[in-house]
Subunit: 78 residues, 2 copies
C-alpha cells in the first residue's frame, strides 16, 4: 500500500479537488491522508520540505502534484 497525502486549506478550490481528485484515488493502491494546513499549521514545515508550494496539493509517494490553485503556502503562515 502506497501513501498519499492531500494537503488543503478548506478553500473552494481545495474542496473541489478533494471531492473529485482525492476521492477518485484507488483505495486498493493508496491510503490517503487529508491534512488541513489552515487548522494544522504544525505540518506546514513538512509540506514545504516535500515541495508543496500551494494548496490543494496531492503528494503520491513523495512526489508533489499541485492541482489547480487555491492558495500559496505563504498565505497560510500569517
Amino acid at each position: 500500500m502506497s501513501k498519499a497525502i492531500f494537503y488543503h486549506a478548506g478553500c473552494p478550490v481545495c474542496v473541489e479537488a478533494e471531492q473529485q481528485v482525492a476521492q477518485s484515488i484507488d483505495p486498493a493502491k493508496y491510503k490517503v491522508e487529508f491534512v488541513h494546513l489552515g487548522k494544522d499549521g504544525g505540518r506546514l514545515g513538512e509540506a514545504e520540505s516535500v515541495g508543496v508550494k500551494s494548496v490543494p496539493a496531492l503528494v503520491l509517494d513523495g512526489t508533489v502534484f499541485h492541482i489547480n490553485h487555491g492558495a500559496d503556502l505563504s498565505a497560510l503562515k500569517a
Copy 2:
C-alpha cells in the same frame, strides 16, 4: 462508471502526472481515456471547450484539474 480524460503532450511533467496521478485513479469508479494533444491536435478544440488551459490536465466528469504545469495549450497549436 464515470468518465475521466487525461490530456497531455508527452512532456516530462505530463509523463510524471500520467504515471502517478492518472494511474492511481480507481478503475472501479472511472474509465480513464488518455489524449495526447500533440499527436491528436483534432481534439484541441474539445479540450479548450471544457476549460483545459495547460497540460497535463485531468478532467473528471467535466471538471478540469490542472496538475502542475507542462505546457500551455496555446503552445500546442503552433
